[in-house]
Subunit: 449 residues, 2 copies
């Protein structure tokens, strides 16, 4: 049950068996894994071994594995498949997963896949594909069970027995009127505990709203978290029930958002293959390096202004890294707090002033504290109180500027529709570098020459 350690030992164990040619026992190990586990395993294998293991995966699980792996790994796996294999793999997939997969296929493959489906499935798929992938419509399944409010629970039970099965993860049945308009939900927990002679109307919950199909994914997450929902009805603009979202899909969105922020902040894409060819990865990562080079040369051009000063006082060059570096750290702290608060919807014009004042005050406090520390340290090192005073002044200036930048940059980026979690760090360190070099070398030029 300690499944993370299991995944690790699975990986090691599998590699050992592959290495020693024990294909049969490798195969039996693979047969025990679930799609999500298989996906993580495949992602962690170099290309050749990945191809071998992929061959061993139960074709029926193929589609679910393809949905779970990152885009680039998926493309690689699909490339090696016959069209017939692909069609077999996607057979029996849940519609929302299938839609995600089909949306990422090359056009020619999409056509083949659609041709392989019967008319009804094709219509259903088109229905989901019509919505943005990152909206409630893109997240939903259309396998909903609905009942009318005016029947008794006994009738509902009889209807369910006649159906014989309802989709996995169903915790509630949606209540609709004659026009298929959403009325509320009948929780299974109520259905199995209440008097069968009661009507659905008497037992249903009407305080859970449905989610409009065009609601962005992040707001769907918000809704599920705020209300501890297990599932929710999705409705079109006329309040007709068109599908349902289950909490496992919401969990995936939360996970994906977190990964996207984490990887994006380093200029990476969470969909990339860890084992992509080095030249390809290098090229992809170089955009971020190119942007950084521009900002580094901007910093160098600031230093360049003070060539004459540096030429006379070489100690300034020695201590030059300290002030920008501290500004970067302090600014990142303010930036992180703001970025998170914006993501949680906690910032608006009514409280920005209070936060601004707070951050600037923190900048002043830490500016003074570290000005004192760094001045003392510099004096002890070089025995020159004047250079200590210069670095102290620059430190105070840069930490206050850093607090201001950390506060303002996320708000500005947000206004420009750029995700602060992705671009905030680069913009911030550009500011703290420029202000850091400028203040330190500028004060040096003013007072030491």
């Amino acid at each position: 049950m300690d499944s993370k350690e299991n995944a690790l030992s699975n990986l090691e164990e599998l590699r050992l068996r592959l290495d020693s040619g024990e294909m049969r026992s490798a195969r039996s190990l693979i047969a025990d894994l679930r799609p999500a586990e298989l996906a993580r395993l495949l992602e962690s294998l170099p290309l050749q071994e990945r191809a071998v293991v992929w061959e061993m995966v139960d074709p029926e699980l193929g589609g679910d594995v393809l949905v779970e792996v990152g885009e680039e790994v998926r493309d690689g796996l699909i490339e090696g498949m016959e069209i017939a294999e692909l069609i077999a793999a996607i057979d029996g997939m849940e519609l929302d997963d299938l839609a995600d997969l089909v949306a990422d296929l090359p056009e020619t493959l999409t056509q083949e896949v659609l041709r392989s489906m019967d008319q009804q499935d094709r219509d259903r798929l088109h229905h989901v594909l019509a919505y943005d992938e990152d909206s409630a419509g893109g997240l939903m399944n259309i396998d909903v069970v609905t009942v009318r409010a005016d029947v008794t629970l006994e009738v509902v039970i009889r209807y369910l027995h006649a159906r014989g099965e309802i989709p996995d993860g169903t915790d509630s049945i949606f209540v609709v009127n004659r026009e298929n308009e959403y009325q509320g939900v009948l929780l299974l927990t109520r259905l199995v505990t209440q008097d069968p002679n009661l009507s659905v109307a008497e037992v249903m919950s009407t305080d859970v709203d449905s989610i409009p199909a065009n609601t962005p994914s992040e707001n769907v997450v918000w809704e599920f978290e705020n209300r501890d929902l297990l599932s929710a009805a999705v409705t079109d603009k006329d309040n007709h029930v068109v599908g349902r979202i289950t909490v496992d899909d919401v969990l995936d969105v939360v996970r994906d958002e977190a990964e996207h922020s984490l990887m994006g902040a380093a200029g990476l894409d969470e969909e990339d293959d860890m084992f992509a060819p080095a030249a390809k990865s290098a090229l992809r990562r170089s955009l971020w390096l190119g942007i950084n080079l521009a900002t580094a040369f901007l910093a160098a051009s600031v230093v360049d202004i003070f060539q004459a000063t540096l030429d006379k006082i070489v100690l300034l060059a020695v201590l030059m890294p300290v002030v920008p570096s501290m500004g970067g750290v302090a600014g990142t702290q303010s930036l992180t707090i703001m970025t998170r608060a914006i993501a949680l919807g906690q910032i608006d014009k009514t409280n920005t002033r209070g936060i601004f004042r707070k951050e600037i005050l923190v900048g002043i406090w830490n500016g003074l504290l570290w000005a004192f520390v760094v001045a003392t340290f510099t004096y002890l090192w070089f025995g020159d109180y004047r250079i200590g005073a210069v670095i102290a002044g620059a430190m105070a200036i840069n930490l206050v500027a850093a607090a201001g930048a950390g506060f303002a940059i996320p708000l500005m980026l947000k206004k420009m529709d750029i995700d602060p979690a992705l671009a905030g760090g680069v913009v911030l360190t550009t500011v703290t570098d420029v202000v850091g070099y400028m203040s330190f070398l500028g004060l040096g030029a003013l007072f030491l020459l």
Copy 2:
């Protein structure tokens, strides 16, 4: 339904009403919010307004709101409450939430709260408190419904009707034997669709394992994600069912983990109050600044070695920021990829070599690419091909070193039981700064003097 925008307009709207003294209408707005929404609202209010709004919150929701807010905000809210108010607020809370709350209370308050409970509730609470907060036992609720395998579904239904209600979010009933040992789960979806004359044994699922109570939270998350569970039984070491975990608690863990990584990487604590007094926040944030100051002075001491060189060639001082900065970005990319793969359990000794080779190759590629670019640019700027050659050489060295450091640091930290997501960045930039200054100024000293 666009709830994030709603939260924002709630905040603005509320502030407007408070400002204009419309207390009654502010109160009615607050009455419409759920605990999670109230929590985010309270967190986003400065202290004075927060106290006013907290007074307006329905006392029955108090406990649920207290669990949702960050620790520091919670402490502030509790400080202003009478003990009787606190006891009223926690009445009716779910046991896992109550345990989280009680675990964070000051000792004297804990005693008061425990005294206010009846013997049975106290015993139940002690039961949950006995487990680590970050384990399956700490996440679980103990309100489980169990049945025996040898009864028919009809008997189960009669039993449930007699109970009259089962806990919210129940999607399955646990099947146990006479000794209360876990046997499997009876899904409600099966209960309502299958022939009532069938026995539980014929309808139950036996392929879902229970989760041992001492399983760490992150492995619980793994289990829920891999198996798309809505709930799972928690068992003690003798396989007795002691509780159940529901997916909404798992969602909270995923959210908390993501926030912890994000905030921790900047040396921040996600439990801190955005509106804590500036002096307090400054002091808390200064640990990270202190560590950074030490690394900045380490970098300065490297530069110090080359005082004589800098004294002769001031251009080296001007271009000094470029190489360390690029190394920091490239290294962070390798670091982020490794840290994520470790967190996903995708790294072990069978595939580290392949990843190492890949990362070093990427370092070489990007090292050569940016060496060329920066040499060209430097030549164009200063018209000196020799300094262009020096910066190119340093760039190539530092980007390869950065790739190696980004690969190795997370593995080393992991081995030392330090979370790479928190400490990795600081250690990495120390390496890339030192190597960056050393290689650039060192090559300069070697070839330009």
